[in-house]
């Protein structure tokens, strides 16, 4: 209780420093948040593209429907497979006409073969898995050909790996910058009160007693900085949505995690700053 009061009194005594601290923390978390927003949107976009990874097996003309049904049931039970769809000759033609638009009349009935479209589960869309599924489907004697856009799948997969690695590296860098800035901000508070701390020690206050108000101060600053950053990110997201492109925002869990993270950084920053100061004087 005393620590809370002490922390509040300290902010009242140096309001500018406190505001500066909260705003600094807010901006560093804002940068981190913006990055996070970009990262989750890129991931979302890639996921959407990935959903289109499919294996298509073209069937021979004389295939009877029972064999196809049996094969589809088999394939549907592969652990990698999400669902299997049958596309008849007629459906293939219709679809091709729709996609080709003005060249629609170059196709004649019976030109396109019937096929089975196999959609894979998420996480099973890497080149190796796709290839292994394709190879297994190829073993059915009535399957003429199997296509899955080999090159395209590989490129997409590489892009995803790059995005993940870059995202991790940038994320760590942004988090590190945020932690350093928060630490420096709290260090300013500690230095501003260095004399007070030294007197507290001289009159016999324990280190824990000295530390606690700073920890609370750090916690409050971390949480308020986090919330402020959240508002900034939300506004930025709205602006982008309004004028540029559709984006998704953080989920509730992510927001909660972000604010808890801010609080944690505040407390950790205080702990380190005060600890170092106490050891040095």
């Amino acid at each position: 209780m005393r620590s809370v009061r002490e922390a509040l009194t300290a902010s009242r005594r140096a309001p500018l420093l406190s505001i500066l601290g909260v705003v600094t923390i807010a901006f560093s978390l804002f940068a981190f948040g913006l990055f996070g927003l970009v990262a989750i949107n890129i991931r979302k976009a890639l996921e959407q593209v990935e959903e289109r990874v499919e294996v298509r097996a073209f069937l021979g003309d004389s295939t009877d429907i029972e064999s196809v049904a049996a094969a589809m049931k088999d394939i549907g039970e592969f652990p990698e497979v999400a669902r299997v769809e049958y596309v008849s000759k007629e459906q293939a033609l219709e679809r091709a006409r729709k996609e080709m638009g003005e060249f629609a009349d170059v196709f004649e009935a019976g030109v396109l073969p019937a096929s089975i479209e196999v959609y894979l589960r998420s996480g099973m869309r890497d080149p190796t898995t796709v290839k292994s599924v394709a190879d297994r489907i190829r073993t059915y004697h009535f399957v003429d050909d199997v296509r899955y856009g080999e090159e395209w799948v590989e490129k997409l997969y590489r892009l995803r790996t790059i995005a993940t690695v870059a995202g991790l590296a940038l994320g760590i860098a942004f988090a590190a910058v945020a932690i350093i800035i928060i630490g420096a901000t709290i260090r300013m508070t500690v230095l501003a009160r260095a004399k007070e701390i030294s007197i507290m020690r001289l009159v016999g206050a324990t280190d824990m007693f000295i530390r606690l108000p700073f920890l609370i101060d750090g916690l409050v600053k971390g949480v308020s900085g986090g919330l402020l950053a959240l508002v900034f990110v939300w506004v930025a997201n709205r602006v982008v949505n309004e004028y540029f492109l559709q984006t998704i925002f953080f989920s509730r869990e992510m927001i909660f995690l972000g604010v808890v993270g801010g609080a944690f950084m505040g407390v950790l920053g205080s702990l380190v700053s005060v600890g170092r100061h106490l050891r040095r004087v």
Binding site: R2, R13, K195, E196, S198, I199, M200, R201, L202, V203, G204, A205, T206, D207, F209, I210
Partner: protein
């Protein structure tokens, strides 16, 4: 009550600050610590309130040994010490009363007793009427009295004063010194580091003199005539050394 046994202190950058220091201070005693700047007075005081530990030997204060003391024990010990500095070390943004109260609050003293204790301490140093003044509104002598009131608030068994009159004019010096004598008369031991040889000569208290980190004279052990004479005193007045500034 206080005992230093063969104490040595070295600093990594400035070298030997103290060597072979041994002396005892009894309950209720008044002791001057004299010597030129850099002779180790401040270092000895720091060892007494355990802000620093000796590299060799042992400092023993009221049952707490420098060899074994934990952080908590040191905190507890300091609540029974009064410490006063040349530069007062008051918090500029608080009134005299708040400065004194601060020392009680940070040790978690019960609220009910704080007000009475604070006003008693301010009365004791003759500043009851200036309780609501800020340090900048007080003279040097008055500021030092506030600092002394703060140091008395926990009923210390010893008052450790590092050049308490160093920043004061003669009149204020006399006043503060008289206050320290009164405090001593009421049973609190006083250890006072000072340059002011006049002050030392005019009173009859025990004097320990340091030079280059060694104890060169202790009036409790030598007759007064054996006291080092003028060259040392000249040094006292002239010498300056950065070591003292820490």
């Amino acid at each position: 009550m206080i005992r230093l046994t063969d104490v040595a202190k070295e600093y990594p950058r400035s070298g030997t600050a103290l060597s072979q220091i041994s002396f005892e201070v009894k309950k209720g005693e008044f002791v001057f610590l004299t010597g030129p700047s850099g002779s180790g007075k401040t270092t000895i005081l720091k060892l007494l309130y355990m802000d620093d530990k000796p590299n060799q030997g042992e400092v023993w204060v009221n049952g707490v040994s420098s060899m074994t003391a934990s952080g908590r024990e040191i905190s507890r010990l300091r609540r029974r010490l009064g410490i006063v500095f040349q530069d007062f070390r008051l918090l500029e943004d608080r009134t005299a009363e708040a400065n004194v109260r601060f020392a009680l609050e940070v040790t978690g003293a019960p609220k009910a007793t704080i007000r009475a204790k604070v006003s008693r301490a301010l009365t004791q140093v003759g500043l009851a009427s200036k309780a609501t003044s800020y340090p900048r509104e007080l003279s040097g002598g008055e500021q030092q009295r506030v600092a002394i009131a703060r140091s008395l608030i926990n009923d210390p068994f010893v008052l450790i004063a590092d050049e308490p009159t160093g920043n004061l004019d003669e009149r204020a010096t006399r006043g503060v010194f008289q206050l320290l004598r009164d405090i001593n008369a009421s049973g609190t031991a006083v250890i006072m580091a000072t340059h002011d040889l006049d002050l030392v000569r005019r009173s009859n208290y025990r004097t320990i003199e340091l030079n280059h980190g060694r104890l060169v004279f202790d009036s409790a052990e030598s007759p007064l005539s054996a006291r080092p004479s003028d060259p040392t005193i000249a040094e006292v007045e002239a010498a300056s050394d950065t070591r003292e500034n820490t």
